[in-house]
Subunit: 346 residues, 2 copies
DNA sequence: CTGTTAGCGCGTTCAA
DNA sequence: TTGAACGCGCTAACAG
């Protein structure tokens, strides 16, 4: 194995000091143009690569940021990460991605690992409902490295967040269904200890109220965001004496489950029952029966998160003013809820 | 900000030496049970966290491995990463994920960044067809840190790889279409400088030959793996005087594009044209018209890759014997190619 | 403008 | 069994 060459190697070769080499390499002001070029050229010739670890140890900066998400295999989180990367990469930062698989213990371990790795900041979408009560998390807060929430946040003093207006999203989706003529609108929710799910629910409820529709809590079912539970919940809804004529789901996956169940029971979408999902996963658009969904602009969310992080590291975290950025959601209306169109065609 | 506590802090408190603390913390043999416990307890009490950076600088091991993939927002790569993580996490390793977006320049930059970050190994699916000619890549080879390919590999001496038998996959898919009664089978390929695409193509060709079907190169189109190009290619195929009665695509996304185009032209699937995709992305299963596809077992691929990596770090990379692990692909037959079933029902 | 010195936090000699 | 000293590779303070 080729010996790892350091600034000392190139210093020796040039009969100068390691400090001078360092200055030359870092484009320090106090260095002659001549030696700077000389050093840089020989460094290149010798295939010198800076040891980031040593630099990090010295400077206290690792130029690594940690990103914690429930999982990466959804377009939503993958797009957020892409946004973060696109913004951070040019600034020399690198992203370490951690998945929690919605496991609270994993999330804590991830935090500890990232802290040990001396990351310069952590951007996360929390999986842990009561994270503010956790010791490791509080240790993270105590350090003054930038911490940022995106999508799934907690309201914690001094911690910035980038989210989408979930209340508005829930309201828009429900209003749309009402506009399409739906009277009994069910809602597939998720654990409402998470703000995002609570807000979607509240938006849904408010839209009903504003339109003079009685809120019926039997029409709200709390499930996990997957196909299977979407199917089961829908089956349950359809077995009611007075089944719904629309389903607004907090997740595209549950919405897909709803679509499958409705079809298997021979119920026409959107004529007999409309469906609206959430997150605008690509499949909602390209299915034969395309599914109406809410766009949360994940790419933008990631970019904004990265920008706030950069502001914080550059200003010094202690001067940080808490930022709460809220994006406006967009409803993409597709076949699964275009009831009036469908009825008019007949 | 709370002062970062080091082994010196806890040494001072106990009136011992940092070296002793280090030994106690690392369960070194030469230490009394008494002090070991004492140290560990006070360490815990003081909320001591080892600085991985310093340890890494000292030991030359960062306990980070780099994973380079074209992109993470497909189930295929996300599952591979999950497999890698599941295997590595328990061994104390952490994964740094890099995306190339199929950009060769990005890939080179990623390699350099990971090397600077002093990763203990790199697991990659290459985006760069001629990577073996690249200087940074050769520098990587020259170091003796474990390097591993998965899925998209290059045959390089001493470099292990975990792949799926793409030839067999192409063969199986084509044989299946022939068994379903298809006579003119088109193939949506991709850049065949990549082994995976070349092998799928060769498997396709061989199956035709073995079944006495004339190979027609006009039926093979080289495109990128996305919906749009799948549609365009299909449009082109359909405009032939003698259009195909089946399409075997090297990608699920192109297969989806093919399905869309066929439908929009009113061609019945599978009766008039069968479609087979590749990678078994979740959507192939849950579409109304489910798409036949090849399972590459990405989770298993990731786990195997991680295991080989662990063997290499533990044995010392110099003793490395090159391993070429080849998984057996599985064809999932779905509606898009179940022509006999469809015809029998009439 | 350049050299000297010191230290980031840790693990590992060599002595005691 | 423990302490003292050193070095991993780099940068910053201080001199000159």
């Amino acid at each position: 194995m080729s010996h790892k060459i350091t600034i000392y190697d190139i210093a020796k070769k040039l009969n100068i000091t390691a400090a001078t080499v360092s200055r030359a390499l870092n484009n320090n002001a106090k260095i002659s143009e001549k030696t700077r070029i000389l050093v840089q050229e020989t460094a290149a010739k010798m295939n010198y690569k800076q040891n980031k670890l040593a630099q990090a140890l010295k400077s206290g900066k690792s130029y690594n940021v940690g990103v914690i998400v429930p999982r990466i295999d959804s377009n939503f989180f993958a797009s957020i990460i892409r946004g973060i990367e696109e913004e951070l990469y040019s600034q020399g930062y690198h992203v370490i991605i951690c998945q929690t698989y919605n496991n609270e213990q994993m999330e804590i371990e991830n935090i500890n690992t990232l802290l040990n790795a001396q990351v310069d900041g952590i951007l996360m979408s929390i999986s842990n409902v009561s994270i503010e009560k956790n010791a490791s998390f509080n240790r993270l807060l105590a350090k003054n490295i930038p911490l940022l929430f995106f999508d799934r946040k907690k309201n914690i003093e001094g911690v910035s967040s980038i989210t989408v207006n979930d209340f508005e999203a829930g309201y828009k989706a429900t209003q749309h269904l009402i506009d399409e003529g739906c009277k009994r609108i069910a809602h597939l929710s998720n654990d409402r200890l998470f703000e995002i799910f609570k807000d979607r629910f509240l938006g849904y409820k408010q839209a009903l109220i504003d339109n003079g529709i009685q809120f019926d809590e039997n029409l709200v079912i709390e499930i996990k965001s997957n196909i299977e539970e979407g199917r089961k919940a829908t089956k349950k809804l359809l077995s009611m004496k007075n089944p719904p004529d629309a389903i607004f789901s907090s997740s595209d996956w549950s919405a897909l489950g709803a679509v499958q169940e409705l079809k298997s029971q021979g119920i026409k979408i959107p004529e007999e029952c409309c469906v609206v999902g959430f997150s605008n996963e690509p499949f909602t658009e390209f299915m034969e029966l395309s599914i109406t969904s809410i766009d949360q602009f994940p790419l933008e969310m990631g970019k904004q998160a990265a920008k706030v992080f950069l502001e914080q590291v550059n200003n010094g975290a202690h001067i940080t003013t808490e930022k709460k950025i809220v994006l406006t959601p967009k409803l993409h209306i597709r076949k699964s809820s275009s009831r009036r169109d469908a009825l008019n065609k007949k």
